[in-house]
Structure formats: C-alpha cells, structure tokens
C-alpha cells in the first residue's frame, strides 16, 4: 500500500518528455488541449485569410482580383475551415484542458484515443487544403455542398473532400466519446451532476449531439461518394434519386451542428459572468434544462433551412413552429445571464468584456434567427446576405468570442502568468468594432436583395459592401494582437495566483498556476 502510494506520487511529479516526440506521443490532456488550441488558432488565420480574399473581391462591384471559380473555392474552404477547423477543435481543446480540471479528474478517461483524435485533424485539413493546388481546384460547392452541384457537377477534388470529412468526423466522435466518459465516470466524489460547472454540462450535451449527428454527416458524404464513383443515384434525379433528400440528411446533421458550435460557448460565458459579477449564476438548474431543451429541439427544426425547396404546407408549418420554440430556451439563457449581472459587483477584465459582447451580439443573432424562423418572411431572407449576417452574428461574436473569452479567462491558469490586460482590452475593442462594422451592414444588403455566394453584385449594394470589407480587415488584423498577447503571457508577465480571479469558484482554481503537468492524482472532495 505505501509503496503503491509512493510510486503514484513519483508518477505525479514527472514532467513531460523532451523534444517533438512529447507532442506526437503525448496522452496528457493538457498537452493535447494545447495542441487543439494551437491547431484551431492556425486554422483561424488560414480561414481568415480566405475571408479577406473574399471581402477584397467584394470591396467594389466588378471582378478585380480573382475569378468567380476561385471565389467559390474560397467561400467553400472558408466555411469548412471555420466550422470544422476552428470552432470545433477550439472547443475540444478547451474541454481537454478544463473538463478534467473542473471535475477533479487526473486526465481524460481515454488518453490514447485522445491523442489519436487530435492527430487525425492536421492530416484531414492538410489534405483539404492541398486540393487548392490541384488542377481541378478545391471544392467549390459551398460548405453545405448541395447535390447535384457537389456530385455530378463537382470538381474531382470532391473525393478528397469526402475523405477529409470522414476523418474530421472520426476525430469528433472520438473526442466526444472521450468527453462523455470522462464526465460520467471521473468526477470527483461529491460532484453530483447538478453540481457540475455549466461548461461541463454544456459540453456533456454537446458531446451527445456530436455522437448523434456526425454519423449522419458521414452517411451523407458516403452517399455522395457512391453516386460519384459507384453508379448509384441517391441524389441524381435522372437516375430516380432525389436532390432534396440530400438537404434533409445534411440539415439533420447541420442544425444540431450549429448548436454544437454554440453550446460550449454558453457554458464558458456561464462560468465567466458569475466570476466577474461576484455573484452565483442565476438559475443554474434552469440553465441546464434550457440547454437540454435546445439540444432536443435542435433535432426537429432542420427544415427551416429548406423553406424554399417546396415542402408541403403542413411540413413547412411544423418546422416554423418548432423553430420559433427554440427561441424560448435561448431567451431563458439570456435572461439568466442578465439577472446574474443584476445587483452584482462587476469588474470588466478582458474575459468579461468578451462575455458581455457575447451576450449582446449573440442575442442580436438570435433575433435575426427568430425573424428567419417566420417562414413567409424567410422566402425573402433565404440565401441572401441577411442569412450571412445572422449566422456570422451567432458564430463570430457568438462562438468565437466565447472561445476567446475562455482563452483569456483560463490563460493565467495555463501559463502561470497574467496576460497583458491593456493589450487584451485593445484586442477586445478592435474585435468588437471590426465585427459590427463587418456584419451589421450585411443585414441591410441582404434585405435590399443581395444574394449570398456571389462574386460580383449590382451597384446599389456597393456602399455597404465597401464598409463590410473595411470592417473585415480591422477584425482580421486585430486577431494578431491575440496571438501576441498569448505568446507574451507564455513568455512571462505578472505571476498569477492560484485563484487567478477574485470571484472565481471551482476546482480548477484550487490547483497551482500554472497547472502542473499532472493534477488531481488524488481526487478532491466536493461538498
């Protein structure tokens, strides 16, 4: 018994291996979390560069910089990279770092699988990006890859795209399983489900969503593969297939997917606001129930992306009502956050600024979502820049700000040093201004009738497009500040305390800063 403990302690103190093999072979949740985050950050700059190419071409009417074909490749790759390469890996990275620390577990439950689920990703995206240099060019059919544009009429790179999606899917499913198992099995004694921090809760629900819908995505790309190479006609009308079937299957994955991209951000914000308001989260239980209802409803609203495909009236009505319903739990969350702030004692460090911007701007995205849910009106909104404005409001100041808020919030715990607060605030304000200047005008041009995914546009849309492009450059370049802040904090700076933040509560703040390589070898007790 004593020797076993001694051995255990010994194990607890040895550090990481040296050199590159540390990263290739690591099974440590902190290492893997960091790799996910760096991967996501890299992809953010690649996907962001593509966005700037798109916005540059759209700066004024006429084709100046690139050809329509390349434009379509850019929109497609931008969307795929941001969704699968930035937002999802960043959340998995945060989960890797924080879930074990928050539930008092020594590591993720399945550490080897963890290593593998990360290392698949660089290969998947490497392959996807390399298609840009093939003769046929990269995928050009939009991130929603509607058949038959993505089957019969696709460039030959579509096969690599399908393979890449399969790899990302495997990675996500493995990551999700790992998170579920960790949360359900490795919680410290005393931490009942209803005592779990909300970040853990939202990730638990997200992980179930992932396990439920990633196989559907894998299914739909496999059907494409069969159509393209093996003579089937799932989506080919000429062969008796059905192009609309593609959209049903895709959005059955796609709508839960958009919640996969926001629920963990809800969790992060629910950690940050109480900390900086120095007041417990308002309505913890209702937050859990609201998140669960959103997750459930997200399975029965998919056809709101298909209001114009000619669904029967009854179907159309059902999906309109269901979509409107989803606004209710979403509203509950916003009301709870605001009530948490009410009569608190607030300070406004960078994580809090991003969290507050999240609440306001995500809500604006929710409002436009509610407008889109009104089916008759969606006939006018659908496939215009209004939709582009909507999903960028929920994804950029929503998901992405949530991620950035989390990074600032936990960075001192990871590096042991406070980040540069001045630069952090500068980064916040530049991002905040950039995001709004970029995406707010898109509501106007969408309502005025500009379709999405076009490389050139009529003259009446010129002014707002020019403004949006200016905003995009402000936003894009301010992310370099974040890079600088992160590196600076890794290199040094004011030493962080264990609690890091005055009002912070939770197991992750009971361990030293920086978090040692191994934590909670002995499970803590939660009262």
């Amino acid at each position: 018994m004593t020797t076993a403990t001694a051995h255990h302690d010994d194990h607890g103190h040895h550090g990481p291996a040296k050199g590159i093999m540390r990263w290739v072979l690591t099974t440590n949740h902190k290492d893997i979390g960091s790799m996910y985050l760096w991967f996501s950050f890299t992809m953010l700059f690649i996907g962001g560069a593509m966005a700037l190419i798109i916005r540059s071409e759209l700066f004024q009417p006429g084709m100046q910089l690139i050809e329509p074909e390349f434009f379509n490749q850019m929109t497609t790759m931008h969307g795929l990279i941001m969704v699968f390469g930035v937002v999802m890996p960043a959340f998995v990275g945060l989960a890797n770092w924080m879930v074990p620390l928050m539930v008092g577990a020594p590591d993720m439950a399945l550490p080897r699988m963890n290593n593998w689920s990360f290392w698949i990703l660089p290969f998947a995206f490497g392959m996807l990006l390399l298609t840009l240099f093939t003769e046929a060019g990269a995928p050009n059919f939009g991130w929603t890859f509607y058949a038959p544009l993505s089957t019969t009429y696709a460039p030959s790179s579509v096969t690599f795209f399908i393979f890449g999606v399969h790899m990302m899917g495997i990675s996500s499913i493995m990551g999700a399983i790992n998170i579920v198992v960790t949360i359900l099995n490795l919680r410290a004694p005393g931490m009942t489900l209803m005592k779990m921090p909300l970040f853990v809760w939202t990730w638990l629900i997200t992980a179930y969503l992932l396990i439920a819908v990633m196989p559907v995505l894998a299914g739909v790309v496999t059907m494409m593969l069969m159509d393209i190479h093996f003579g089937t006609s799932f989506f080919d009308a000429a062969g008796g297939g059905d192009p609309v079937l593609f959209q049903h299957v895709f959005w059955f994955f796609g709508h839960p997917e958009v919640y996969i991209m926001i629920l963990p951000a809800f969790g992060i914000v629910s950690q940050i606001i109480p900390t900086f308001a120095r007041k417990p989260l308002f309505g913890y239980a209702s937050m859990v129930y609201a998140t669960s209802s959103i997750a459930f409803l997200s399975f029965i609203v998919w056809a709101h992306h298909m209001f114009t495909v000619g669904l029967p009236l009854e179907t159309e009505l059902f999906f309109m009502y269901a979509t409107m319903l989803i606004a209710i739990p979403t509203g509950v969350k916003v009301f709870n956050w605001v009530s948490t702030m009410f009569r608190g004692s607030m300070t406004f460090e960078t994580p809090m600024l991003f969290a507050l911007a999240f609440v306001v701007l995500f809500t604006i995205g929710g409002f436009s979502g509610l407008m889109l849910a009104i089916a008759p009106a969606d006939f006018q909104y659908h496939d215009t820049y209004f939709v582009v404005a909507h999903f960028h409001y929920v994804l950029v100041p929503g998901a992405l700000f949530g991620i950035i808020a989390g990074v600032y919030y936990w960075l001192p715990k990871w590096t042991g040093n406070y980040y540069d607060e001045k630069l952090g605030k500068f980064h916040f304000w530049m991002s905040f201004i950039g995001v709004n200047v970029t995406f707010f005008p898109m509501h106007f041009i969408g309502l005025a009738g500009m379709p999405r995914r076009i490389p050139d546009y009529a003259l009446q849309f010129a002014d707002f497009n020019a403004i949006a492009t200016v905003g995009a450059f402000i936003f894009g370049f301010s992310q370099l500040v974040l890079l600088y802040v992160v590196i600076k904090s890794i290199r040094g700076g004011e030493k962080a305390t264990d609690e890091v933040w005055e009002g912070a509560e939770g197991l992750e703040w009971t361990i030293p800063s920086p978090a040692p390589y191994h934590t909670f070898a002995e499970p803590p007790h939660v009262k």
């Binding site: 509607y146 009308a237 308002f282 509203g331 009569r343 608190g344 004692s345 607030m346 008759p376 009106a377």
Partner: protein, 375 residues
C-alpha cells in the same frame, strides 16, 4: 470610391434619425413589393422586427443599467440571490405568448402563398447553368433569357451601366391583374428563382416541379429585377431575372409578336442564304452567345475554354462540329444550343466559326442542315 462610401455612410447614419421614407430610398430594408403577398410578408417582417427591437431594449436596458450601476468601482456589493422560479416561469411564458401571437399571421400568410389554384397564366421556368428558360404553357411561346452585361463592364474595362448584372436579353413578360402560376424546375443543378418585388422565391430542382404564384395588380406595370438565389456553379452571380409586367392587352400583343417572330424564323430557315450573309450574321451571334467563353477572336480562355481558332473540331468534320454546338458536351460548360438559338443563327455561327480567324474549312452550314441534324 472611398469618398462616396463615406458620404453615403454619414447620410445613412443621419437617415436612421430621419423619416423611414428616406430610409426606404437607400434600400436598407426589405422592399414592400407590388403584390398582396409581398405586402403581407413585409408587414410580418416589420412586426417581428419591432418585437425583437422591444425585447432588445428591455433586456439590454437592464443589462446596461447593471453595468453602470452595479460595478465594483462604484462600491457595489454583490447580493447573492440566484434563483426565482417565478421569474423563470414568467420569462418562459411571456415569450411563448408573443410567439403564438406571431405565429397566427405567419400561418395565414403562408397558407395564402401556398394556394396556387385558379391561375390564369402558367409559366414554366427552367434553370440552366447559367440562364433561365421560360415556357408559356398553352401559348406556344418560349425562350431563353441571358445576362447582357458585357465582360468589359464586369472586368472594369468600361463604365458599368445602371442595371449592371441585372439586365437580360429577353424579359419574362407577364400581364397585370391576372394570377400567374410559376412552375419552377431545373435542367442541371439547383437554382432558385427570386424576384423580391413579388416575393416569389422558389428553388429550381432537377426532377421536381415547384409551384409559386403572383398577382400583380393593375397599375403596377413595370420592370422587376431579381437574381438566382441558390449557388449553382461558377456563374451563379450572373443569371439575373427581369420580369416585365404589362397590361393584359399589351400582354396579348406581345404573345402574338412572339409567335409571329418564331414563325418568321422557321420560315426563314427554309430559305436560301449565301455564305456571306451567314458569315455576317454568324459574327453577331458569336459575339452574343459564344465570345464570353471562347474569346472575341476565338482565342479561348485559360485552360478550360478551348480556342476555336485552329481547333480540330471547328476546322474538321462538319457533323461533329454541328453536334457539339447543338447538343453541347455533358459535364462541361459547353451547353446544348439547339433549343437556345434558331436554325438560322446556328447555321450562321457554325459557318462563321469554320471560316473566321484564319479557320479555312471553306464550307457553308445551311439552316436546312441544322433542321436535318435536329431530327
């Protein structure tokens, strides 16, 4: 460019504080359109918009109040309340009530939009990469409608016209005061036919025929422009729609003209054409229908669009040449022109290709040969 942008920006900001009528001029908002349906949709849009604004004012109001009043720097002490079943029920029930109130007019409007019965005019609309085809069912009138904006405008080599990217060679003409049913389908990938002013947007899907309708009231004659709204490939941004609403009388006259023109064309095809006549006409047709891809001098474009000057097909076997122009080539941008161009135009453009830019096939393709090839 830039100074104009800023001018416009400042006027927009000012405009927000001025009357909504001025805002409408600047196209910040959804058009009210010219049909009952488009008006109902606009009303729904404004209703839900104001609902959102008011919820926003309340929620953000409370939030900003807390941000200003309950800050630590002002010595605020945090209270520790963190639960209230009453409040949770309230802010679940209240939005539910608002949404139900909202669902009622939305449902009524949607039901109206789906009622395509009793139409007086049926127009079949077929999406092609990258043009629209219109067939007036039962009227024996049909045609293709192509973008007319020139490559020079698109590539900034000349000034852009007023209706840049929103102009076509043949308008889809419809009568006012009559219920028009659109039957929408596609020949290749999915497109979407959208004219905002009549609030009709429907996907054009191969293998499906979707229905939609519009009734443009008398007195609302005019041109209404729209665009394809579903990504359909490289020229998705370049297949606009121009809807021309005319009075019932003018519509009948227009139909007669169309039929007369078609007959004249068919008759002409049976006549005799000299090589020179065909060359002159062929140059026109080529510039209009082919130059966008094959280059003004038949020099081709990039690696995808082959040069016709010196091309083996264009100088070789005539039947093969006729075949590719009539039937296109599957899976490439070279489309079938058999239905798009008349026999005379086809004969002319093929003759032209065989004998222009140094091509020296030396032969003549006659309209009669095209009629034979079509059989």
């Amino acid at each position: 460019m830039f100074s104009r942008t800023w001018q416009r920006l400042s006027s927009v900001v000012l405009g927000l504080f001025l009357s909504p009528a001025i805002m409408a001029d600047w196209e910040l908002n959804m058009p009210q359109g010219v049909t009952d349906i488009s008006q109902s949709i606009y009303d729904l849009h404004m209703l839900i918009f104001w609902i959102c604004v008011w919820i926003g004012v309340v929620v953000f109001g409370v939030m900003f109040y807390s941000i200003f009043a309950h800050r630590k720097s002002k010595g605020a002490k945090a209270s520790q309340f963190h639960e209230s079943l009453g409040l949770e029920l309230l802010w679940t029930a209240l939005p539910t009530a608002i949404l139900i109130a909202m669902a009622v007019p939305a449902t009524t409007t949607l039901i109206k939009m789906y009622d395509t019965t009793d139409a007086q005019v049926d127009i079949k609309i077929t999406g092609h990469q990258w043009k629209w085809q219109y067939d007036y069912l039962g009227e024996d009138v049909g045609f293709f409608s192509n973008l007319t904006t020139s490559q020079d405008e698109i590539y900034d080599r000349t000034a852009k016209g007023d209706n840049y990217l929103l102009e076509v060679d043949k308008h889809v003409v419809v009568p006012t005061g009559q219920k028009i049913r659109f039957l929408i389908t596609s020949n290749d990938v999915i497109h979407a036919w959208w004219v905002p002013e009549i609030a009709v947007k429907k996907d054009a899907i191969p293998g499906y025929i979707n229905e939609s309708w519009a009734l443009i009231p008398e007195g609302k004659e005019g041109l209404y422009r729209g665009q394809c709204a579903e990504l359909c490939g490289v020229d998705h941004g370049f297949m606009p729609i121009v809807l021309e609403a005319v009075t019932e009388d003018q519509y009948q006259i227009w139909l007669d003209d169309q039929r007369a023109a078609a007959e004249a064309q068919a008759a002409a095809a049976l006549g005799d054409f000299s090589h020179e006549q065909l060359m002159v006409k062929g140059a026109e047709v080529y510039a209009r229908s082919c130059a966008a891809c094959h280059g003004a001098e038949g020099e081709g474009m990039g690696s995808v669009f082959p040069a016709l000057a010196g091309s083996a097909i264009a100088t070789g076997d005539m039947a093969e040449h006729i075949d590719i122009v009539l039937n296109g080539k599957q899976g490439t941008a070279m489309q079938a022109f058999a239905a798009q161009l008349g026999e005379v135009d086809l004969a002319a453009v093929i003759t032209y290709e065989r004998n222009a830019w140094g091509n020296d096939a030396g032969d003549t393709v006659t309209p009669k040969m095209i009629i034979d090839a079509k059989q």
